[in-house]
Structures are given as C-alpha cells and as structure tokens.
Assembly symmetry: C2
Homo-oligomer: 212 residues x 2
DNA sequence: TGTAAATCGATAAAAAAATATCGATTCGAG
DNA sequence: CTCGAATCGATATTTTTTTATCGATTTACA
C-alpha cells in the first residue's frame, strides 16, 4: 500500500512534456500563476483533462481564483518525468542525424548526458565539439566503462538489426531507434521506434482529412 | 452513412507504421503469408488487437489456416496511411538536424518529397546533394511556387515562434516541430511537436520503472 | 477422401480514458 | 466587511479502446 503515488495513466504521461514546454514559456513571460482553463484553451485541451493531469503531479493543490504556481508546477512535472535522474546515453551511427544528437545541447535539461557516438566507418571516427566518435568495435568497452544505459540508433535500415544486437551485447537496456526498419530485441530491453518519415506522413494524412 | 470507410481509431492508426515495418521485413525474408497470431507474438501485441487492426485496412479477408498475404497487406496499409499521395515538404532551419532531413532518402517511400530547406544564416545557404538551401526571405515565394504544404521545423527553441509564423504566412498548413519550445499556431494549421529529448527521457524513465 | 488443427471474423465484456456536472473554497471589487 | 465571480477537486457519465469468447471456414495431412 503506497501512500499517494497514484497510477499515472499512459496517455497523461505523454502529455506532460507538452505542459512543461508551455509552462516554461509562461514562466519566461513572467507569469506567476496559471489556471487550468487558461492552459486548456492555449493547448487545445479540455479544462477537465488538464485539471486531472495536474492533480496527478502537483505537490500542492491549485488555489481557487488564482490557479497553479508556474514555477512549482514545472518542478513537479520534471520530477514526475524523471528529469532529475542522471543517465548516460550514446549514439550508434554517426551520420547526419547521429551527429545532430551527439552535439545537441538540449538533453541536459532532461537529465541525459550523451557521452559518445559510434560508427562502423573509420572515416567518421574522431570527435565533434569535444564529444568523441569511436569505432563500433569499442562500443562494449566504452559503454561498460561509462555506464551507458540508453542508446540512440541512427543507422541505415539495413544495418539496424546488427547494430541493435551490438548495443544489447554492450549492456544497453533502452533503445530509441530512428532506423526505418523492424528490429528485434530480447526480453528485458526496451525498444521504441521513432519513424520520422511515418510521423511526417501521418501528419500529412491528417491534414488532408480535415482540410479538404 | 458512408459505405464501408469505417472509422479507423486513432490508436490503431498509430500502430500501422509498425505493422508496415514488420511486414516489409517479412516480405524481404521471402514470407508469403503471415497469420495475425504470428504478427502479434513478434510485435508483442495481442492477437485480437492485430486482427481488428488488419480488418480495418485489409482489402481481402485473411484465409483461415494461412493468414494474410504479405504483399497485399503492405499495399493496403500504405494506402490507408496515405503514402500513395504525393506531398511536397520543406525544412526550416538548416542545422545538423535540418540537413539530415533534407537529404534523408527514406521519405520517398512515404509519398513525401522534401524540396528545399531554409535558414536565416547566409552561411548555410547553398545546396546539399542537389537539394537547395535558401535564405528565409524566400520561404513564401518558393513554398507557393512548389506548392509546399508540409514544413519541418528544426530551429533553436528561441527562434521557433518566429520561424513558425513565417511558415504559416507562406501557406504551410501542417508543421512537424522539433524545436524544444512551445509555439502557437492559428486555427487551421496542424502542429505536431516531436520533442526528441523528452522522448528519450521518457524512455529512460520507463526503463527505470520496470527495471529496478 | 475424410479428419483434425488452426485460423478468421463477429459479438460481447472489460478496461481505460475523456468529458460532464456540482458543491466548496477563496480572491478581489465595491 | 460583504457579495459575487471564478476556480478547484471530486463524483458520475459517456465514449473510446482493448481484451475475451465462440462458431464457421479452410487448409494440411493421413
């Protein structure tokens, strides 16, 4: 019997990052309090939905007539999302996309530290803005040494399965794949596929539907 | 009262790309028929869910004891996802991520043609593998000329709103944003935010939860 | 050719999520 | 100080999505 750590629904969890972005924009604009109806209108959600979501994470109740303290909410959301934990990640596949991840400086706010990239081509080996790019052979060695748990897979589709296997072998337990291919992972390894092309295509299809 | 164009649930629609990836892998392996239970096991879904999803798109029913014809299903899914339609897209923000999108050759399978990129910095202007990179001033002109409907937003967070406004002004009606910022769009414009860092962070959090 | 095994598709039930309603609370203006 | 407007949070309802069950069909094999 856990005290108050209620069950956070999967759908709500997916909305949290959007709240966070919105609240940070409000904070930057100097807003101190926001009401749930205000959030709802700006974010195109129902006010009830917002209230329910915030009730899941808010450390203190909202004040009638005022709303929620923006700064407080941001902290609560970040904690709920686990951004306060520090995690080491690596990139496998140092192409354009992979290198973009390697040097992207937005991860630190999320508790993620991308420590290195790996590539099968010797031509890519080196470094970028101080972040090293190693040959694939060293994946296991470096991953174990740096305690890397997270892997970002950005290789061409035909190389995806092999690269993925190497990551699993190196002890990586969570993989975010951008490779346009179906890959198989063993039990105990979490895999999420972000098919950017498919995402874009579905967005396009959606627009067609509602537009014309 | 529409004939047979049944309502495709939103959740099912999101699963379609994954089916597609899986089926293409099977096809490449020379498999002619797959049963829904086989798909379910490989993809970690329930067999009933798979059958319901496939029933929404399949142009011909599955055969008992055999399953569905792989090639046929692939075609059906692609049609349902709108990949047969041709759409022009552009990239706004020609940094590393933006350039990765510009030259990514996987979009053509999805009916998307990325025709150009735009950047505010004159240093980025030029071309990459035959794809032009224009200055932001020419966005509207080019977008209208090329009939661009889709925009991929890959600028730093602080430039996102301004760039987004320019895209809307240029007649773009669907925007896929990778900028880590909250942006506001007018009615009639579809916006989807892909917060890569948040996605990675949530994956990490998920693993923590189930792992330890 | 006949039998058995396994699949499909449809109907029904369960679970989850979104939405609606209502009283209690409290801030701000008069 | 009092009144009114607006918000919160909780309960209830509706909708959506997932999961379960069952008979019909068909292929493979003896």
């Amino acid at each position: 019997m856990e005290g108050k750590t209620a069950e956070i629904s999967k759908a709500a969890f997916l909305r949290f990052p959007a709240y966070l972005r919105y609240l940070k924009a409000e904070e930057a604009a100097g807003v101190g309090y926001v009401s749930s109806s205000e959030i709802a209108e700006d974010m195109h959600l129902s006010a009830v939905c917002v209230r329910k979501d915030l009730a899941l994470v808010a450390s203190e109740p909202g004040k009638p007539r005022l709303g929620f303290a923006v700064g407080k909410l941001i902290g609560d959301l970040e904690r709920a999302l686990g951004y306060h934990l520090k995690t080491h990640a690596c990139v496998v596949g140092a192409g354009r996309l992979g290198r973009a991840f390697l040097v992207y400086d937005g991860f630190e706010h999320y508790g993620i530290d991308v420590v290195a990239a790996f590539d099968i081509s010797p031509a890519q080996v080196g470094a970028l803005r101080g972040k090293p790019i190693y040959p694939m052979e060293r994946l296991k060695e470096i991953a174990e040494r740096e305690n890397v748990r997270l892997g970002i897979l950005t290789v061409p589709g035909e190389a995806a399965q092999q690269a993925c296997d190497a990551m699993v072998e190196a002890g990586i337990t969570a993989i975010l794949s951008f490779a346009p291919a179906y890959v198989r992972v063993p039990e105990g390894v979490t895999l999420r596929c972000e098919d950017l092309a498919a995402s874009l295509a579905s967005l396009s299809a959606e627009t067609e539907k509602s537009g014309a």
